[in-house]
């Protein structure tokens, strides 16, 4: 069997809504992944440092406060700077459709909006990690 996928579930910014992050973390774990959850109020610097230290293959971020346009691209570019651009970065939360093309342009592989089944996120990760 392949070794399990390692995922960092992260809450960037000041947003305290962590129901989605915790549900998805658990769904990833139940799908056989190794999950690290950062807890609230992480700066992009902290997320990148944890991702590298924990040697994850996926960074999954959740934001419901509207700060995604600022924070998601920042994490992607900092990962690149640190030479960790092989990590798959995905995001979820209350994110308007209009914002999605620019986020993908910036290097976020996929955005999962409200109502997405956890199974869909799991499948996306399995198909898109770089191994």
């Amino acid at each position: 069997m392949d070794k399990p996928i390692r995922v960092l579930v992260a809450k960037p910014g000041l947003d305290g809504h962590d129901r989605g992050a915790k549900v998805i973390a658990r769904a990833f774990r139940d799908a056989g992944m190794e999950v690290i959850y950062t807890g609230l109020r992480q700066t992009p610097e902290q997320i990148v440092a944890t991702a590298i230290q924990e040697d994850v293959e996926v960074v999954a971020m959740s934001i419901l406060s509207g700060a995604h346009n600022h924070l998601f691209p920042k994490v992607v570019s900092m990962l690149k700077e640190k030479g960790a651009d092989d990590m798959l970065v995905v995001g979820g939360g209350v994110i308007p459709d209009d914002d999605i093309p620019a986020l993908k342009e910036a290097g976020v592989a996929e955005i999962f909006t409200p109502g997405t089944p956890t199974s869909q996120a799991i499948q996306f990760i399995k198909q898109n990690i770089k191994r």
Binding site: H17, G39, R41, P96, S119
Partner: protein, 559 residues
């Protein structure tokens, strides 16, 4: 309700009905499902009869509205006397923008204000703090100093409106700013009506905008209780909130249990600080969620009222009836709204509005249909407000008090929720009270388990969410969503720069120094905070001083 003979007669008749009628039908036409459950996963029987409420004692368990145990409501006439306060939670971008929205809502017939602050404000950072980047003005209005607060309430007479402020960790600072704005309008503090949320325990549990550790946070809260009892007597000093606990995924019973357990902790803290229970308890208020399971929600509100009355009387020996009354604000369930077919949310909100009103709420915020997509547009907010007005003026449910009392199902469920919540509270007592139970992650874990179970039910199709896992359609990208001007952050920063130059910085430093000293001792901090905000010390500066003295809360993360 029924005497023994009568119960036996009913039991026998029910058995006959089951054998002669029901079984025949079921063999030909089985029911839709094997098990029926509420929105919170509690079992629902096919039929409720007087025998399901056989233990109910009318005078003891229900009584009359405005009387202990307040199951039927906190006022004798309820909505026949006055309708609930229609209060839409609003705030975004700058104080100028939000002030415009408040005036619009007041023109549309709203009867109270409810202020949403942005995250930096809620966490005690100024708009120019590095952690504020990207968040300024996003989920609410940015308030950095008294200057912003003066603009926010410009042209709104503070002796005429009641204002609710969703502010917790820095509640003392925002309340001080509100008092200072009123002073400038010539309104004395004793004329002020309103509420601060000021409920830090649920921030640790579910909402996340904490700053300080538990001990100093509880002190700030009891300082506010004490100060307001003397200076701002009509102010609701806390809104003990189940709303966010439910949004985080709890069941209805857990919502009641964890909210009242938090309430117990606040009352105990105030008593420990030397306050008389009947001095502060009448100003405690509550805040609940209203979800889609109409009858379960009605039962929840009734159970919460009865249980709190009993706790205040039996546990804390309150004597003043007002100390035993659970008065509450309700908001419809944001997490029940779907991004898919957003117009369907209008119907969900209408059902939830009915639940809140049939449950006897004192005020209500109705969510807007587009909230799973963005901040609500003006048009969506108007429909949400109209929903309340239709229920108030057209549905007829406001014309009598507690109309669902006596329903076998509703009464049985009211009992069940009270019992389940009491069991949780006993468990939390065993763990050493709510703050300890939170430190141990017990409350968070219970909520997460419920949230995860719900998500799996939706994904398996066991639980139907219209438009999400059934009755889907192909949809266009929704139009007309509200966008916050991305320049808000820069605008706030510029304003703040101006302020720091134009105010009397010597006086600001003196006031902050005084506050720091007081924070290290045990004086009431409210007068010191007031001095600082009057000199235009910023929210970030005031909270910064307190951070230095108190330190910061460390979240306990459980998965």
């Amino acid at each position: 309700m029924a005497d023994k003979d009568n119960q036996d007669v009913i039991s026998k008749a029910k058995r006959d009905w089951e054998e002669q009628r029901l079984e025949k039908l079921l063999s030909k036409r089985p029911e839709r499902k094997d098990n029926f459950v509420t929105g919170s996963n509690a079992e629902v029987q096919r039929l409720y009869t007087p025998n399901d409420v056989e233990g109910l004692d009318y005078l003891e368990d229900l009584g009359f509205p405005g009387e202990y145990p307040y199951t039927r409501g906190v006022q004798p006439t309820m909505y026949r006397g006055r309708l609930w306060t229609m209060r839409q939670y609003a705030g975004f971008a700058t104080a100028e923008e939000s002030n415009k929205r408040y005036k619009y809502l007041l023109e549309q017939g709203q009867t109270g204000l409810s202020v949403a602050f942005d995250l930096p404000t809620q966490i005690g950072y100024d708009s120019d703090h590095p952690l504020s980047e990207g968040e300024v003005g996003k989920v609410g209005v940015a308030i950095d100093s008294l200057k912003d607060m003066e603009i926010l309430f410009g042209g709104i007479p503070l002796d005429k409106v009641s204002t609710s402020m969703t502010i917790n960790a820095p509640a003392a600072v925002l309340l001080a700013m509100y008092i200072a704005v009123a002073e400038k309008q010539g309104v004395t503090p004793d004329k002020l009506n309103g509420t601060i949320q000021n409920d830090i325990l649920k921030e640790y549990i579910a909402r996340g905008t904490y700053i300080f550790p538990t001990q100093p946070s509880m002190r700030l809260i009891t300082d506010i209780f004490e100060y307001c009892a003397k200076q701002v007597p009509k102010w609701n000093t806390i809104s003990i909130s189940g709303y966010h606990i439910r949004e985080a995924g709890s069941t209805a019973s857990q919502e009641v249990a964890f909210t009242l357990a938090d309430g117990i902790a606040y009352v105990q803290a105030a008593i420990n600080a030397g306050l008389e229970v009947d001095e502060f308890a009448p100003r405690l208020s509550f805040f609940f969620n209203s979800h889609n399971d109409l009858l379960e929600e009605v039962a929840k509100f009734r159970a919460a009222r009865r249980l709190w009355a009993r706790i205040m009387k039996d546990r804390f020996n309150a004597k003043n009836p007002k100390s035993m009354m659970l008065r509450f604000h309700t908001q419809t369930g944001g997490s029940t709204l779907t991004a898919q077919q957003p117009d369907n949310n209008v119907v969900r909100v209408a059902v939830q509005t009915l639940a809140a009103v049939l449950g006897g709420t004192q005020s209500l915020h109705t969510n807007s249909r587009d909230e799973a997509l963005a901040l609500p547009s003006e048009e969506s907010v108007r429909i949400a407000l109209r929903t309340q007005q239709i229920v108030a003026y057209e549905s007829g449910v406001a014309e009598t008090v507690d109309p669902l009392a006596g329903s076998y199902y509703v009464e049985a469920m009211t009992d069940r929720i009270e019992k389940e919540a009491s069991e949780y509270i006993a468990k939390i007592d065993e763990l050493g009270g709510a703050p300890r139970a939170i430190d141990k992650g017990f409350i968070q874990k219970e909520i997460q388990d419920s949230a995860y179970r719900y998500q799996m039910e939706v994904e398996s199709g066991e639980r139907v969410v219209v438009g999400v896992n059934k009755f889907q359609i192909k949809e266009e990208t929704p139009k007309g969503l509200l966008k916050v001007d991305p320049r808000v952050g820069e605008m706030q920063k510029a304003k703040l720069g101006e302020l720091r130059k134009s105010r009397n910085n010597v006086k600001v430093s003196e006031a902050l120094e005084g506050l720091k000293k007081a924070a290290g001792g045990d004086e009431n901090l409210m007068p010191f905070i007031l001095d600082a905000v009057r000199e235009y010390a910023t929210l970030g500066e005031v909270c910064g001083v307190l951070r230095e003295v108190f330190g910061e809360y460390k979240q306990s993360v459980v998965l």
